[in-house]
């Protein structure tokens, strides 16, 4: 991670993420900043270059991404 976190530990155990199944679940307080951010980071994680490529509107909605055969 950049910038380097103050403390980070990890193990070799890993999980697999599936774009079609993955979601952020807001379990605490929520607001527009969180709602937009989870959408933005979903895109950054699974379709990182999508923001830069036309003709998608930025930020595209999840359904736009999932329904787009390019992905």
């Amino acid at each position: 991670v950049w910038p380097k976190p103050q403390q980070q530990t990890y193990s070799e155990t890993f999980f697999v993420l599936r774009p079609t199944m993955f979601q952020f679940q807001v379990v605490g307080e929520r607001c527009d900043i969180i709602d937009e951010a989870v959408q933005r980071y979903y895109q950054l994680i699974f379709y990182p270059g999508a923001a830069a490529s036309a003709p998608l509107a930025y930020p595209p909605t999840l359904s736009v991404i999932q329904d787009n055969p390019q992905f």
């Binding site: 380097k4 980070q8 530990t9 193990s11 993420l17 952020f24 900043i33 937009e36 490529s53």
Partner: protein
């Protein structure tokens, strides 16, 4: 171990609407930890911490050619918080106009490096692209092109909102009393007419800094900065104050008479003090004492006193004899909060490996008490735009600014350039993959996904 199909976002306190100087940005990430088995959670007391945590989480996901799996993430625990509260980037949109799209990309890159202040150097001698509601003539006559090369009220709102969504404050700079040539065309009598040594008025279009003894100018400045305070939600405004030339002040007959009447002799720092006293009094009055200031270091160098709570930005000393560390020691001795930008003028370019010097510049490496060091609240990258525009600003800034971002966020002990080099290279490839045209950092290398590949 399993599929990870969800990450919990656990914000423990209600959302704040705007990022602020004292916002909390700490967060925790737990992915399959002993107390959170088979689950993933980002938690924070603040929405800004959640944003920083989401950024970290996004960087933990990777693809592996070994497993053939496109997206995987290791069991991880992160406890994280910033070392400095002010981690800025100064963007100059006056020497070259920066389109909104470019400003937004820069803001995205800031967020992806956990920077939190966009210092928007909006105006300078060259142009005045900010379209004032109260004084539209200034940009009409002072911008490069009044219909295309301006920032309307909507544009400004858009930038502020875009930054707010990413936990980034927008602090505008309206540098004065000098660096104001572009203000004068649309605001007659604002600037000081320039006389020659024989007391003859020079050609009519030659002006100096803002005319500091004309009462109407303070009425204008009060209204103008009142508008700025209502437009930009952050209470801090950068007032500039750098590189004030006294040439035209020294030769103006009315100013000479004013100086004599006040018994100031030829000490024009007294007149500059008078200007800032009047400016800050006027802005305090119209904002009901809510406006806060940032200024460039010259005001302190000239022993000009400033309102309590003013932040001083140290920008000199990267090359000069006076080291910026000495300057930090001097300014914090006066009790001012300070931000450092001297070592991080990234608009100066060089060929080859240059990021190490940015990475190693340490803001607390000066001789001073613990109390003095607490007054250093952070620093900022500066990207002046005389020789940079929207073509080159992103590759010239990034990933070099990333090294400053790590200096200001991470623990002081994180300062090994050998260890940083590969991580920086990986980060550069990540930014490239995300669609940003960022420069290579370490010479010979490759990214799995090259630009335009």
């Amino acid at each position: 171990r399993a599929f990870l199909d969800s990450v919990d976002i656990d914000l423990k306190q209600p959302c704040e609407y705007l990022p602020s100087a004292d916002m909390i940005e700490s967060y925790n990430i737990k992915i399959d930890t002993p107390d959170n088995p088979l689950k993933a959670t980002i938690s924070s007391d603040s929405v800004w911490g959640i944003l920083r945590g989401l950024e970290s989480l996004s960087q933990l996901v990777y693809s592996s050619t070994e497993t053939g799996v496109a997206y995987q993430i290791n069991a991880t625990e992160i406890v994280d918080f910033p070392r400095f509260s002010y981690r800025g980037l100064m963007m100059d949109s006056a020497r070259h106009y920066m389109p909104l799209k470019t400003i937004k990309k820069m803001t995205d890159l800031m967020a992806q490096n956990k920077m939190n202040v966009l210092h928007w150097h909006l105006t300078d001698d060259a142009s005045f692209p900010y379209e004032s509601t109260l004084f539209p003539n200034i940009s009409r006559y002072g911008s490069f092109q009044p219909f295309s090369h301006i920032y309307t009220a909507n544009d400004v709102r858009e930038v502020i909102e875009y930054a707010r969504m990413r936990g980034i404050r927008v602090i505008p700079e309206f540098d004065s009393p000098d660096h104001t040539q572009s203000w004068g065309r649309g605001q007659p009598k604002l600037l000081t007419e320039c006389y020659d040594d024989n007391g003859v008025l020079k050609v009519p279009d030659e002006y100096g800094a803002i005319m500091p003894i004309r009462e109407e100018n303070y009425v204008f400045l009060q209204q103008f900065f009142g508008e700025i305070f209502n437009t930009f939600p952050d209470p801090f405004v950068h007032l500039g104050g750098d590189e004030v030339s006294y040439y035209c002040w020294q030769r103006h007959p009315e100013i000479k008479a004013f100086m004599a009447a006040n018994g100031w002799g030829t000490d024009f720092t007294k007149l500059e003090q008078y200007y800032f006293d009047r400016l800050t009094a006027a802005t305090q009055e119209i904002t009901q004492n809510q406006m806060r200031y940032i200024v460039w270091q010259e005001l302190l160098d000239l022993n000009i006193t400033l309102p309590t709570g003013t932040i001083v930005e140290v920008w000199k000393g990267a090359k000069e004899e006076l080291n910026f560390l000495d300057e930090l020691a001097r300014i914090t001795k006066y009790g001012y909060q300070t931000i450092l930008s001297s070592p991080w003028y990234l608009n100066y370019i060089s060929y080859g490996l240059d990021w190490e010097k940015y990475y190693l510049a340490e803001p607390l490496d000066f001789d001073g008490s613990d109390e003095q060091k607490k007054l250093v609240i952070g620093g900022e990258v500066a990207m002046w735009s005389e020789y940079v525009d929207s073509v080159s600003v992103i590759p010239r800034t990034w990933p070099r600014a990333s090294t400053v971002a790590e200096r200001l966020w991470s623990d002081r002990s994180v300062n090994d350039t050998t260890l940083a080099a590969l991580r920086l290279e990986e980060h550069r490839c990540r930014l490239l993959k995300r669609g940003f045209m960022v420069d290579p950092s370490n010479g010979v290398n490759f990214c799995e996904q090259e630009w335009d590949m």
